[in-house]
Amino acid sequence: MAEIRVQHLRKAFGDFVAVQDSNFVVEDGEFFVMLGPSGCGKTTTLRMIAGLELPTGGQILLGGDDVTMLRARERDIAFVFQLFALYPHMNVRKNIGFPLLAQGMPSAEIRTRVEETAKLLRIDHLLNKSVSGLAGGDRQRVALGRAIVRRPKCFLMDEPLGTLDTEFRDLMVHELRELHNRIHATTVYVTHDQMEAMSMADKIAVMNHGVIEQFGTPREIYDRPATMFVADFIGSPPMNFLGFGGGLAKGAREIVVQGAKVAVPEVREDIAPADMALGIRPEHIRFDDASKLRGAIYGTEYLGTTQIVAVETADGLIKARVPAEIRLATGDHVGLTLSSARLSLFEKGSGRAVRTAIHDVASERRARHG
């Protein structure tokens, strides 16, 4: 296993820049997820790490070795494709053993290794079956088997659960993470599904338009989104934004939104007057008639333990997640109270998050590591 270091990675297809100046480090044994909408450059990045595309610029280091321009077969990596790419003319055993055959391994050893792998994935009873008759989950396991059997430096996975039914997907998310905990293989996993990312990843990179918007743990990304894009992309429903104007001074603890004063985490930098946005997660909103921030109930979505309530405010709809017991009727006027310690502030123009007290923990930790 090995660490993956990506430095100033760039890829252009003619005039279209798919990936611009990506930098990140996947530490040895880490489960790293690249998350973003389709066309954001995450698959292109993965394919460059695999050697299926050559970068326009930048470097890829695998376990300290520069592999930027090496062929795929010289990199000692394994790749799990979205459509699995199981060879239809070979049975399960041959599919899993295919990478070992390339290394010229003796057939007795291939046999043992394939059987070990199949046992690990609980597909040893399928070894002599044709791959075309397998169910989705088993195909997925065979594809994983073909990756694991090599004991490569790292695993690259391109939306491997994308074609499975929801039911199977939850099961496989669990299985994948469990497998990772057992074999501790450095893994780069590409998905557009935030639930997969949040539940499996040690680290996540959120990408958009070829740029890594944020790199961090699932908790950092959810609690301290670095940009409005990340705040909006992660969370279901996503973060709400309420606009406000004026600048911010270092040390400020309060802002004015729609005529109401809202306490916010202490601001750590000076911001010149500009259009700003206050970011609130739906679960950080409570209904409180005393509040000056007001709105009218637009609709509710009952989810069992909680309900999502859409509230019409002067600045558009915002969504709150509140306990399911609260009785609300469409059209009711409510006051909104926000959990001050959990709020984020953004510059609307650049979408960048303003440094506040919520970032303190992260910067302290980073300082310790540095």
Partner: protein, 316 residues
């Protein structure tokens, strides 16, 4: 619109099935009768073959086949009687017609020429076609669309339109009446068909297969050989049959460019008629044998062919 009815999945009624069955049987009969006629004629004696009304039931004879494979000279009965006992069926039959066998005919070498040229050119066309189709399908070839159009454009004109330039060219290059020349010519005609057909098939094979193989430690050529080719077999089989049928049946160029050593069966068979009267059984025997290789080849590949043709036809 009528288009929607074409895709309707309503089960056909018993009546329409019966009508369709009748039409198919009738059509099959009409198609097969000439073949049966030729097959039957090849086993008739020359007098039976020209009998009127035609004989449906007759005493089968191998005389046609004897005449196909031999050349004969007419002799006086005295001379024939002076010979020793007949050495076999053909010898005996020939003597009954006041003739003796002079030697083997050219049919066998011509037939072998046909085999070499047709299978050789089919192999070349399919080999080149597969590699080019793979290239066009997987790589960014500069001007790919124009090149593909150019390849197709070689078929816009019936090949025979360039017969005279090719005849002159071949004479200059010393390719006239050589197997190599005919293989090159048929390959050139077939390769455009092969590239276009195979590109369609290879486009349908997801490139993830080769990418997976390349990541698993194989070179591109190995990946092509082990993952693309096995999945392209139906397409390759279908293409090979189309190429083979063309090369096997081609008459015009063969008649023009081959006359001796490299002559193929199609221009040779009609020449049998002239040798010693209108020997229809010998012509029919030649035609029957001529049909065999393509029949065998098609039967061997029928599964791939059927899948290949429908696969190509119902592309999304």
């Amino acid at each position: 619109m009528s288009l929607t009815t074409a895709h309707s999945v309503v089960a056909p009624s018993a009546n329409s099935k019966r009508i369709a069955g009748t039409i198919i049987v009738l059509y099959a009969l009409i198609s097969i009768v000439p073949l049966l006629w030729i097959f039957a004629t090849s086993f008739k004696t020359p007098p039976d073959s020209i009998a009127y009304p035609p004989k449906i039931l007759f005493q089968p004879s191998l005389e046609g086949y004897c005449n196909l494979f031999t050349t004969r000279t007419r002799q006086t009965p005295d001379y024939i009687n002076s010979l020793g006992p007949a050495t076999g069926f053909c010898d005996e039959t020939t003597r009954k017609r006041n003739m003796v066998i002079a030697g083997p005919s050219n049919f066998l070498p011509r037939f072998v020429n046909s085999l070499i040229i047709a299978f050789g050119s089919t192999f070349c066309a399919v080999f080149l076609g597969t590699l080019s189709a793979y290239g066009f399908s997987r790589f960014k070839v500069p001007l790919a669309d124009d090149l593909l159009f150019f390849i197709l454009s070689t078929r816009f004109m019936p090949p025979i339109a360039v017969a005279i330039p090719i005849y002159l060219m071949y004479r200059e290059l010393g390719l006239s009446d050589t197997a190599l020349g005919m293989i090159l010519l048929y390959t050139a005609v077939n390769v455009s068909l092969a590239v276009w057909l195979l590109k369609g098939f290879i486009d349908e094979i997801p490139r993830e297969y080769e990418e997976a193989a390349m990541i698993d430690g194989y070179t591109r050529l190995q990946a092509f050989w082990r993952t693309v080719l096995p999945q392209a077999t139906t397409g390759i089989a279908a293409t090979a049959i189309f190429c083979l049928i063309f090369a096997w049946n081609e008459y015009a160029f063969a008649a023009l460019l081959t006359s001796g050593t490299a002559q193929t069966a199609p221009p040779f068979i009609p020449t049998i008629i002239g040798e010693g009267g209108q020997d229809w059984p010998a012509v029919a025997a030649g035609t029957t044998i001529f049909l065999v290789p393509i029949l065998v080849f098609t039967i061997l590949l029928r599964k791939q062919l059927l899948r290949g043709i429908t696969f190509g036809a119902v592309r999304k």
